[in-house]
């Protein structure tokens, strides 16, 4: 379980997160939704120590993550698929996956087999440079690369970005399956609130850096009043 309490992050004068507290339960999908600029990406970057919070704490099964280096956070079993996917374009698919497995827990060969099973499109492209992959294939590669290290937590930043609706549904189903089959803990940041809320167990609504709601996903989905926050129609 990740327990975030009193987390604040500022970029210069911009206060991206203000006193954010929330729990990410183990083995469940927690969706984080909100309008553009709500601070969703910042939240994930704070968990991965890519930004240094101005205050607050992030406790991961008894380990304090604030102040830890990014690479150590990753080695503690927290996988992070960044916004815009972040596949290494200069590398081949195989090299991307090798890199992902390097500091993970599993073995490379077994991991490759699992991932190619999960994402068959990658198997036939293993020698191809990641820069030549399609958007959806890159998303698969980024997820496969994070999963091959067998993390216990997966932070996903807008996995549906730029994907066709059908592909988005596939991705969401895959995430759901991972969660159910392997007990993976997922933090799912999404613009596409409806599809995220369909697969998530819990949902956190961020609004201008503040938690506007934190409840079971169906409750958030049913709450008409919350909708304007994450649909971005609020003033």
């Amino acid at each position: 379980m990740i327990r975030i309490s009193g987390l604040s992050v500022s970029y210069g004068a911009v206060r991206a997160l203000r006193d954010v507290s929330l729990d990410v339960p183990t083995g469940q999908i927690t969706a984080v939704i909100g309008a553009n600029g709500a601070g969703k990406t910042t939240l994930l970057r704070a968990i991965s120590s890519l930004v240094r919070p101005a205050g607050g704490s992030i406790d991961f099964d008894g380990t304090e993550l604030v102040g830890m280096r990014t690479e150590e956070v990753a080695r503690h079993g927290i996988g992070h698929v960044p916004e815009g996917r972040g596949v290494i374009e200069e590398f081949t698919v195989l090299e991307n996956l090798r890199l992902g497995a390097l500091h993970g827990r599993g073995k490379l060969a077994a991991g490759l087999e699992t991932q190619f099973e999960l994402f068959p499109a990658l198997a036939s492209r293993r020698k191809q440079h990641a820069g030549t992959l399609s958007g959806g294939e890159r998303q698969m590669l980024a997820m496969a690369r994070a999963l091959i290290g067998e993390p216990s937590v997966l932070l996903l930043d807008e996995p549906s970005l730029g994907l066709a609706p059908i592909v988005t549904r596939d991705v969401m189903m895959t995430i759901r399956a991972l969660c159910v089959d392997r007990g993976l803990t997922v933090v799912l940041v999404e613009q596409n609130a409806m599809s995220a809320l369909q697969v998530a167990d819990r949902a956190v609504v961020l609004h201008l850096g503040v938690v506007a709601a934190d409840d079971r996903a169906e409750v958030v989905r049913a709450d008409e009043n919350l909708r304007h926050y994450y649909l971005g129609t609020a003033s």
Partner: protein, 299 residues
């Protein structure tokens, strides 16, 4: 065949090879550092000199050549590691001019320190190879066992570096840290350690280049002796586009051969000006060098 091997042009080419591999190694060092940290290491030549002196300085105590050769490499690596850790790291993210100035300061500092310890007199060491050129009948082939050793050492080193980067997990992490530091961190790669290691490797490579220079028959090493090879190595690397290790090596060897021709057919004083001209012309036509695939404007 014999007439061919001893002809003037082939002689020039063979003659240019030794210089060429030195330029290529220096260029390779520059590329490794540039790719990893976006710093053009103006002190690379001086650091190589420092490493070589640390190793070869021992020769005056009658330590065998091979020991000194092997010592120069870790000495250069040590210098590289310390520099990255304490001088370059505080400057990441600062204006582009700051690391340039810092490296230039380090350049004269190292040359001066080396000069104050060992003096500015030329030091040459005789390696256990003959510098007498091979003969074919009555004619001379411009190639000695020493030159063969020098070129072989450089080629072996370049291949080893290439293999390291291509085939090992360490190389994978080194490359990843250079092109995508943030993503690498997210995957658990200790990026700052990789950057230090990149500097160490590059300076080790350059130290070998300095040892090759100092083991030449006529040309020994002086504290400022790597300035010329540095300039040529930079030109080689820049012609290749500063991004491509292969480009730096190929560029270095070509430049060495070109210089040999200029010296033979024209005038030794014009070697560097001609190389400069080549650089300028190449960069005017292709601002990102000959070996860079995509043109990315860094903002």
């Amino acid at each position: 065949m014999d007439a061919f091997l001893t002809s003037r042009n082939v002689s020039d080419i063979l003659h240019g090879l030794v210089n060429g591999v030195v330029f290529g190694l220096v260029g390779l060092g520059l590329v490794l550092i540039w790719r990893a940290t976006r710093v053009l290491n103006f002190a690379l030549g001086a650091m190589a000199t420092g490493g070589a002196y640390l190793g070869l300085g021992l020769l005056s105590y009658q330590v065998p050549f091979w020991w000194c050769f092997l010592l120069a490499i870790p000495a250069g690596m040590l210098l590289g590691g310390l520099t990255e850790r304490f001088l370059v790291r505080p400057l990441y993210g600062k204006p582009e001019i700051n690391p340039i100035v810092a490296m230039v300061g380090l350049l004269i500092l190292i040359e001066a320190v080396v000069g104050s310890i060992w003096g500015t007199r030329q030091r040459s060491v005789l390696p256990p190879f003959s510098y007498v050129d091979f003969h074919l009948g009555a004619n001379v082939v411009q190639l000695s066992p020493l030159a063969v050793f020098q070129v072989t050492a450089a080629v072996v080193l370049a291949l080893a570096i290439g293999a390291l980067f291509r085939f090992t997990n360490l190389g994978l992490q080194l490359r990843a840290s250079a092109v995508a530091p943030e993503v690498s961190r997210l995957l658990g790669v200790r990026v700052s350690r990789m950057l230090t290691l990149g500097w160490m490797l590059a300076c080790g490579v350059a130290a070998v280049a300095a040892v090759i220079v100092s083991s030449g028959f006529i040309s020994g090493l002086t504290p400022s002796g790597m300035e010329g090879p540095f300039a040529a190595g930079f030109i080689a690397a820049a012609v290749g586009g500063l991004e491509s290790p292969t480009g730096a090596l190929v560029g270095g060897v070509s430049l060495g051969i070109l210089e040999s021709f200029v010296t033979d057919y024209w005038n030794p004083n014009l070697v560097l000006p001609v190389s400069l001209l080549v650089l300028v012309v190449v960069l005017m036509v292709r601002p990102h060098g000959l070996f860079t695939r995509q043109v990315v404007r860094r903002v």
